[in-house]
Symmetry: C2
Subunit: 429 residues, 2 copies
């Protein structure tokens, strides 16, 4: 079951040595480079080739039609539709409060300056379509884009025998995705980045995918924007003696069931809670459908750490910078100020991570592998650009001229200074 | 002199074919990888080796001392200090208005959720120290970090014979940089990312550098945050018949003098202005200290384009997504709403780009090579992280439980559903 570490052991194993990020395997990069090149050269024909090879045939029309999207609703149970709609409403409400307005930093008679907020024009969302499919991922990626004002929002997802998963189509409708293309894999990323006859190129690509998709995203980055390359999912639970062992265990398991590399950590001030949680982990794993995955993950990548104080727990957690942090201690909300580095925080005994994964409103696309030290989860900001602007009157420039010219001279860029000087006293004539 | 294109030719050459980003030369990457590995393994000893090889000797103490920083002030003319202080004041004022506050998206009796804004804890600024040195770059990178609340702000810059450029030290004092280390190159990036005996590792690295520095930044990205890898500098000038040819020419030259790859474009509705600007370009280049660079850049990378209307000009510019955009037309401010993609905008006949490069307040670290379609210039946001949080009461969870469980079931993640169910009805017992 879950490995037990002292704080020192934990630090040594999980924090001190920065986990060097895994670059993609050379063979993966080579494969993906050739796919991208093929799509750039041959467009739709290249896509069709890959679909025949991997997806059991190439549909004549890459676009999911209106009729197909309508028909998908018949295939999804009403109560699931209702759940997705409720979730979408919460996600919309939360993200709508992130929207910033264009503003002025200065408005005088002589100077006007500020920041414009503008939506990114075209965004593509990648949605995996393997065995399990994730409608929540459609909502989390699409809704902030719609709110930001993205004017062309498209989605790509692989079809099986010409058909995409109905629940993904329904989620796309709920979220406001305009066009869905039946294409997946690295070739879909290449098509979004560079365009084909059927697919217009976008300005930014978001959404999770397998190793090939991730490598493709990292290779097209710069030509288009991307969200982030996610590592294994993580949770850290800080718990005191008021926490319920079976709640804590269930939350650690919910993380561990993702895959063998997922990381679930418990930091607790209570030895009793630690021991009882281990008992609960055994009991709950026994009846879990993804038991083997969860047990492997807990043993190899997870950890239970007994700490001297809540402060000591926060100190370790802030160094770890986990994707998800649960605070299951008395007066949990009052500890919010201690959080320095975390993707998203779940507070109190009745806020398991799944509340946020699916429903409450905050985004579930979050920084992993310690990157919460310097980056943030997906938000409406990720679908907007900030453009600064400045207007100077002739008089304002006159006031500023000597300072600008002095700095330009010092930096040995005479032309920079002259662009000011020439406006002041006609030096070029 | 500057090449003249039709709109169609311009589109074909500069927009249609997305300029594939230049990956770093393989030999550069190999060299930089070995430098990074050496610094990770050998710390300060590795740094000393590189300094002896490249910087004419290794200083015993890597830190610029208080005495050295004080002495630097004696070496910088008072009027230059004054110019930097005025610029710093404007930059501080502009960026202080970007600061966002932690907020609540929802506060009911049952649910509390929101976003925390937290400064990145440790930031390192790279400052080149070659022939020309750029105090403006110190101000532009450091001031937003200080305002965001970064608690450890350090700077690295190469020393010559143990001494760094005095003006960089003074700029660091003005901006609020705490510690300056005498080290440059890829080894400085490695030291900031992974730490050595003398240098504490940081969470994010910003600032411009040569090819080796840029490659090092891209290699350590993921273990630390970075700002961006900048391409050649660019300006687009939109001008009508009210524009003054010599102002326009001076601004194009100010861009072109950066380096041979810099791009300066003029879009104008006036053939007369176009012709007179070309005459002015010749005249002004003749007396420019960096004449050859500017002329090469204008000819190979620049362009003058006669357009049918101001709208046509904005259409081309929005597709180009230039780093800098100047609007030199009548009623220039009223055209601000037409800007969709640009790093920073300079409005009117008396706002040359150098106003923003040095003085007005907006940042001069801006997206290049068309990346303004999906990214933004440096701002206080780049030194903060957004952490979402959510608290649910037992009752709130009860309301949400059926929806969460339905989605979890559909996504085949039973443990996610159970983390909710177990809190509702003790199913594990």
């Amino acid at each position: 079951m879950i490995s037990v570490y002292s704080p020192k052991e934990f630090t040594k194993r999980f924090i001190s040595k920065k986990t060097k990020k895994q670059p993609f395997a050379e063979s993966t990069v080579k494969t993906v480079q050739s796919i991208i090149e093929n799509v750039r050269q041959n467009g739709d024909i290249a896509l069709q080739g890959y679909m025949e090879k991997f997806d059991g045939g190439a549909p004549k029309n890459l676009v999911v039609t209106k009729e197909e999207r309508k028909a998908a609703w018949e295939e999804v149970p009403t109560d699931v539709v209702e759940a997705l709609q409720k979730a979408a409403k919460n996600i919309r409400s939360f993200h709508s409060k992130q929207l910033q307005q264009s503003r002025m930093m200065e408005v005088t008679e002589e100077v006007i300056s500020g920041q414009l907020f503008r939506p990114i024009e075209r965004v593509g969302i990648y949605v995996p379509g393997g065995k399990a499919c994730y409608p929540s991922s459609v909502l989390m990626n699409a809704i902030p884009a719609v709110l930001a004002g993205v004017s062309q929002l498209v989605m790509v997802t692989p079809a099986k025998a010409g058909k995409i998963a109905p629940i993904l189509s329904v989620a796309a409708d709920i979220a406001g995705v305009q066009t869905i293309y039946k294409v997946g894999g690295a070739q879909a990323i290449a098509a979004l980045a560079y365009g084909t006859e059927s697919i217009e190129p976008v300005d930014k690509i978001v959404g999770p995918g397998n190793e090939y998709v991730a490598a493709a995203k990292s290779l097209v980055f710069g030509d288009v924007g991307i969200d982030m390359i996610a590592g294994p999912s993580e949770v850290a639970v800080i718990a005191d003696e008021t926490a319920r062992p079976k709640f804590v265990a269930a939350d650690l398991i919910a993380q561990a069931e993702h895959d063998e590399k997922a990381r679930a950590f418990l930091f607790t001030t209570s030895e009793q809670l630690l021991n009882e949680t281990i008992v609960e982990l055994k009991k709950q794993c026994a009846s879990l459908s993804r038991r083997e995955i969860a047990e492997t993950s807990l043993k190899n990548e997870g950890g239970a750490i007994l700490v001297e104080s809540v402060d000591a727990a926060f100190n370790l957690v802030n160094q770890l910078a986990p994707e998800h942090l649960e605070i299951q201690i008395a007066n949990a909300l009052s500890y919010l100020g201690k959080v320095k580095n975390a993707g998203s925080v779940f507070i109190g005994h009745h806020t398991p991570e799944s509340v946020g994964d699916y429903f409450a409103g905050p985004n579930h696309v979050l920084p992993t592998s310690g990157t919460a030290r310097f980056s943030s989860g997906l938000s409406a900001d990720d679908f907007m650009k900030k453009t600064t602007y400045v207007y100077y009157s002739e008089q304002a420039l006159q006031h500023a001229a000597p300072y600008i010219e002095r700095i330009a001279e010092k930096e040995e860029l005479a032309g920079h200074g002259r662009a000011v000087a020439i406006r002041m006293n006609d030096i070029s004539e």
